[in-house]
Symmetry: C2
Subunit: 396 residues, 2 copies
């Protein structure tokens, strides 16, 4: 554990099937007026809405509803929520949904009592709300495992008009006060969304793991989480209602992005950066854009971090190391990752997402640059994108 850091994650996690009991226990700590935030209405057909409303009623809450939060919450929708939360002066925002709904709720909580334009200040200038600004507490009922938003301060909002998708990590006051995690709530998700979520989780872990050469406990924890995710994903793709597998996946999602495994180490978020741009050009599902670009990206940086990639092969994939160089072993680890991507049914190349040759330069030009083992240039991104396109053609 190198460097100095603070770990503070006061979200109370209620895990398991007793949603009614858990939700009532959590709601008791907050005032009367609750802003209930959700998405397109799938929670009405699967019964989750009724369960939540029952708990709200039985704890004497007055409910203001705000629905229609979209997969990539827009600035326009954010401003609608901010206005509503301020006018109604709610005591709690209860987000029922996946990462988008929770991200959005944090944005509303931060912006409702801000004297000025929240988008300009919080997202574009990456400022924090002032210490004396009122922040509405946020709680969540999670229906989709992947983003980890249930236990962190992250929020992503999209300005559609200006094609800007901006992520912001708020400080401790915006981390959800409680999150209710029922693995059964993820059972009804379509298979491709479950798989996209699984790959999103894997990517969160890998982007923190593939950086640095030091001996950090964080990396050992990451290895444990990846091993468990791979094992459970193999069960879940064949048997999506397997409680054990889905519960492990939900729990891993939370711990993959609540800051624990990134403590005291360098990180490299380039796969997410490239995937965000691909998403802007193709509207590909986030998790699928990540899986489509991962192998090409890691093959590209492999020689700069060979030792870590060899360790990944040996520990995470249990590939025998005897008589092999780090370079061989490292390469076999990426092969194993790529095979697993195909095995679970995630996208293994960018062509299936609709990326074509003539987009590559523009994707590279609009991607936010960074890196870990190697500082990535625009030329590097073009090479990585070409590799992903070519790989698919070779397979045909």
């Amino acid at each position: 554990m190198l460097g100095n850091f603070i770990y503070y994650n006061p979200t109370k996690l209620y895990f398991g099937t007793e949603v009614d009991k858990n939700l009532k226990d959590a709601l008791e700590n907050y005032g009367k007026k609750v802003l209930l935030v959700y998405g397109g209405g799938s929670i009405k057909s699967n019964g989750i809405y009724d369960t939540v409303i029952k708990a709200l009623k039985e704890t004497g809450k007055e409910v203001v509803e705000l629905s229609g939060v979209m997969p990539n919450p827009t600035l326009e929708k954010l401003n609608e929520g901010i206005l509503l939360a301020r006018n109604e002066d709610v005591d709690l925002i209860l987000a029922v949904g996946g990462g988008s709904t929770i991200d959005y709720s944090k944005g509303v909580a931060a912006g409702a009592f801000f004297d000025g334009d929240a988008w300009t200040n919080f997202w574009l200038q990456q400022k924090e709300p002032a210490p004396d600004q009122k922040i509405i507490p946020v709680g969540s009922v999670l229906t989709l495992a992947g983003t980890g938003s249930e236990m962190n301060g992250g929020s992503v909002i999209t300005d559609e008009k200006n094609k800007l998708k901006v992520g912001k990590v708020f400080g401790e006051r915006l981390i959800p006060k409680f999150s209710v995690l029922n693995p059964e709530y993820t059972f009804s998700l379509p298979q491709n969304q479950m798989v996209a979520g699984i790959y999103d989780i894997m990517s969160h872990i890998m982007e923190q793991y593939f950086s640095g050469d030091d001996d950090s406990t964080s990396d050992y924890i990451s290895e444990g989480l990846m091993r468990s995710l791979i094992a459970s994903s193999r069960v879940a793709v064949k048997d999506p209602k397997n409680y054990e597998a889905r519960s492990n996946i939900m729990w891993i999602a939370t711990w993959a992005l609540n800051t624990l495994i990134g403590k005291g180490k360098k990180q490299d978020w380039m796969v997410h950066m490239i995937a965000h741009t691909i998403g802007a050009f193709t509207h590909a599902t986030h998790g699928m854009a990540l899986s489509a670009i991962s192998a090409a990206y890691y093959r590209f940086i492999l020689k700069y971090g060979e030792h870590r990639f060899a360790r990944f092969a040996r520990v995470v994939w249990e590939i025998p190391s005897e008589g092999k160089t780090d370079s061989q072993l490292a390469s076999e680890g990426i092969d194993a990752l790529e095979n697993w991507i195909k095995e679970i049914g995630a996208a293994s190349d960018i062509e299936v997402l609709g990326v074509t040759d003539n987009m590559l330069e523009e994707i590279a030009a609009t991607t936010f640059l960074g890196g870990g083992y190697k500082e990535i240039t625009k030329e590097d991104i073009v090479a990585i994108l070409k590799d992903s396109l070519k790989r698919n053609k070779n397979n045909l």
Copy 2:
């Protein structure tokens, strides 16, 4: 992740060398009067006391001192602290030391404003303070890695007159509000205390790991923590001032016993139970009593949980599994554990602790019974103790 559970661990952890800055940041959130709790005065010779006093002064605190907290805090000392904290009406208890000092401070915090006898109620009857009872917040500056008390609600108090050593896990209000973790503060610890701490950590993880046959993410995280602990212990015993190794050990200690790795699974704390009794008979250091009994205990229950012990060998010790039965592999895993105990200089048998043949029956008779893969009887304990004694004689 089986079963329903709550995870809530709101301790703010300040990790690293910037103690002055971290402590002042933490102290700002509490009132003027601080009860400073510490042990025998080693913090005065190594400069930690001065650093803490400076931060207290610079944040304008009024300090009441309570020193002399012993390694196994006594009921008599507890009552002294309760009286002092109540009379002085302090706003914060700041524990500076290891697990005993922090455990003790939680006891004082819980008992100060309790209307009645805290020992009888909290420890002997395992009750919680009532929701409306005032609890003094506790913060800590950690000087010894091992018990995990810096991020949990645990407290162990000893009634010397009646030879009762009782552990209590308090609820969320008694978990330290903040803990300042500086790995350098553990550098000056004598080697045998460092080693005892390392084994205490290993035992905390194993006692949660060796139980259950399900596929739980908790066990994968445990494997990561054990692998990291073993790697760092090998560096630290040769080079105790290696910051990286000592920082990993300190971080692992916190996460080994803050409830994370026990979530959703069965646990087996018999090694701690037997070691507690051995401690009462011999005054052996806690970590050494654990190491002395571990191998004998795990060999005894091995056939009841072969599959898990084989996994332990394969994943934690990287023992090649090809062509081996679970039984062979499991046995080799315990051999590896035993070799590591000797390698780091922990006690590998109970004879070196002063246990003799004529004590065995009485140790067995006074040990609290439980178990995991096997429900343990008094006869079982005698057999385990005999194995540990015999093992040593064979080695001579």
